[in-house]
Amino acid sequence: MTNTTKPILSIRNLTVALPVKIERANAVQNLTFDVRPKEILCVVGESGSGKSITSLATMGLLASSLRVTGGEIEFDGRDVLTLDQAEHNALRGDRMAMIFQEPMTALNPAYTVGDQIAEVFRVHRDYDGDERRKRTLKLLEEVRLPDPERLYNSYPHQLSGGQRQRIMIAMALALDPKLLIADEPTTALDVTTQKQILHLLKQLNANHDAGIMFITHDFSVVAEIADRVVVMRHGQIVEQGTAQEVLSNPQHPYTRALIDAVPRRAQDRDHVVSEHPVVIDVQNLNKTFHTAGSMFKKSRTVSAVKNISFQVRRGETLGIVGESGSGKTTLVRCLMRLIDPDSGAINISGVDFASQTSAALRQHRKDIQIVFQDPYGSLNPRRTIGSQLIQGAINFGVSREEAWDRVYKLLEIVQMPKYSVHRYPSQFSGGQRQRLCIARALVVNPKVLIADEAVSALDVSIQREVLKLINDIRDRLGLTVIFITHDLRVAAQICDEVLVMKHGEVVERGGVGRIFTAPEHDYTKALIAAQPGQDWEIPMMAEFAPQAAARKVGTL
């Protein structure tokens, strides 16, 4: 307890009940923590830990199905739980403010961003129109948005994600609140944008008195900005303390497990040039998209993949890294001929994928398989797991008996029970679904496996497991893996070589070790520099948790 000022927010024994007893009775239970002026408190937890519900309860924005059954939330000397709607309304946006995760949807598409910021003044203050406008423009400047005059009259959809998040911050800071709640404000942003936003928040924290409650799942972000940390799991606090204490000397096993799961920088390792035959050979691949115009829009042409060439040898893992819109997904979809490239050659173990007719291509499709990002969209909800798993084998003329054999063997490999085959996808969690997707891809004995952001949608702990699984399978089955990710740290853990993509072009290519230690292209440098928590020396957990010793990640 380094700070002794009186807390601005003080949560005591807060309990929020869930409507139906699904897994547990309470969304959060017996929660107690403080937020003090001028400090950044990070609330960390995986999905379902109850961290968002806590913030919503504080703001008085809980869904009507959730009820606070116990405890108090003391803000500025008053228990906000006892306030009526109007009183709470008067506080919100004025004394307490909030920033949300999805900047893309958090602004009303029908009004200009300027009007939306100015609305805060209109609701809470008696300023006239000029005054409102003047103050809004000042705020836009404060959050470092270029050309405030023009931006004032822009609609949300005309702005980038980072710009929108700045608008949200400006809106939150409009009346200089005492408490600012930021609910995963950078999760939906690219890493370079995330860096800027975090930087901005730190700066603002220095200039304002507000206490900031920062909700995140990412310990690297915590390391970047937190003064104090609260770790939550299943609606309860498992550990809290100063950032220093929690980050370098975590006490609770759960905290330790979480920290251990944080992907860390690759150790410097040499890129061994393999002697294996080339499995994938891509030459001068191009793909351009045309969007049809409408009454109010001109048609547009976007080059998603520009003149890309690369080779991958058997048993290698190639990482393709880039921020959203860099064309990496288009690249792999062209590779698999899920979409037709405009030009270029794709040779996959001796078959030219680019020039085949789609009918002729079908028999070769088994050579290259894919696991997608979204575990919920990649399994057909209306078919049993079994029928989806054997479908591929059946398609390639494998007898039913043999197909079932393969399926059961693969289920074992992906560590899923046999009886999964009788069930439907809705009965599995995200991580389990990704395992099933991997099994489905492997059932046709592919030579190449593409993992398209295959772990991005998963909680860090599960992410780690799946990464490990992919690595194991590659070694065991002699697969070639192409690993698409936006996260350099993840790429570092699993890849031999990395392609860095930007705007449809490869800007840099090289072994993992070299890319991290001696990046050549400015963009690569920027990407690496933007990684949060760079200064944090992640403690090795091996001595705390014995089972973590089985960690093979990063070794070949």
Partner: protein
């Protein structure tokens, strides 16, 4: 924008062409229009004269080309029965049907949008159930039955409203309700669903976090966005109403386009039928276009690319 307008226009022309040739193909199915024209007491010689006068002795494709050539020049032909240019007749009747359609639309929107909004504010409440009941019951009630029942009570038993005709606003009350009631369920459901979705959206949460009042939340932030699909639906439904006014106009003796259509069908007045279908299909296209423009005005995402 200009290119797009042209594209849209050519689409409309293409649709109209298809519709017109489909309508014209009714000729293949039809009995001899000359008989319809000559009446019950026409002799064979009369019929022959009629066939020659109207060109029915020529092959159907030739008739179609002839008709099309004239239609392009703005001449939709001469009504067999009414003995005057079809277009003149249609444009004389159109205002009545438009007025009826507009009144019906206004009635439907005035009933369904508030109900939809109220239902969405408190899903599963008594009001929501009431609105839903109205919707379900409305969809199940044949419009002619509803119309005649209203006539029985309001015009005959209570004598509050005139039975039929189109002379004063009073004459439009029952037909507008009978016609408009049928589209109320759809608009209400869409408003409700749209409001529910919008109320769940992130930007509504943002607005609440700003401390915006409930009223402003509902009508400034939510309805503005929820109304956008309703606009398209209303425009399309308005088009359907113009076409669907046949039954209502017949019942309430409103001499609009629908009644004209029904009369033309009965007397096999093909040029008139073709022209009405053509005009209505053009109208539909125009309305969808209008809805697009209106949507763009309401939704900056469409307006500003």
């Amino acid at each position: 924008m200009l290119a797009f307008l042209l594209k849209r226009l050519s689409m409309a022309v293409l649709v109209a062409l298809t519709v017109s040739s489909l309508t014209f193909s009714l000729n293949f199915l039809s009995g001899d229009p000359a008989i319809a024209l000559g009446g019950e007491s026409a002799t064979e010689a009369d019929l022959q004269t009629i066939r020659e006068t109207y060109g029915y002795d020529k092959p159907i494709p030739v008739q179609y080309i002839n008709w099309l050539t004239r239609a392009v020049q703005g001449d939709l032909g001469q009504s067999h029965y009414l003995n005057q240019p079809v277009s003149e007749e249609i444009f004389q009747r159109l205002p009545t049907t438009m007025a009826l359609g507009l009144c019906a639309l206004v009635f439907a929107l005035a009933l369904s949008i508030p109900l939809g909004v109220l239902a969405a504010i408190r899903p599963n409440s008594l009001l929501d159930r009431f609105a839903l009941t109205i919707a379900v019951v409305g969809q199940a009630m044949p419009s002619f039955w509803f119309g005649l029942t209203m006539m029985l009570w309001f015009a005959i038993n209570w004598r509050i409203l005139p039975v039929s005709g189109s002379d004063s606003w009073k004459h439009f009350v029952m037909p507008s309700i009978a016609l408009g009631y049928y589209i109320t369920p759809g608009v209400m459901r869409l408003t409700r669903a749209g409001m529910l979705e919008v109320l769940r959206s992130d930007y509504i949460r943002t607005a609440r976090a700003k401390g915006v009042s409930k009223f402003s939340l509902l009508f400034k932030h939510a309805l503005r966005n929820a109304i956008i699909p309703v606009v398209s639906l209303a425009a399309v439904q308005f088009g359907f109403m113009l076409g669907g006014s046949i039954v209502i106009e017949t019942i309430f003796a409103i001499n609009g386009l629908g009644f004209l259509a029904w009369e033309s069908i009965q007397r096999a007045d093909l040029p008139m039928m073709q022209a009405i279908v053509l005009v209505l299909s053009f109208f539909y296209i125009a309305l969808t276009f209008f809805a697009d423009v209106l949507n763009a005005w309401l939704d900056p995402r469409i307006r500003i690319g």
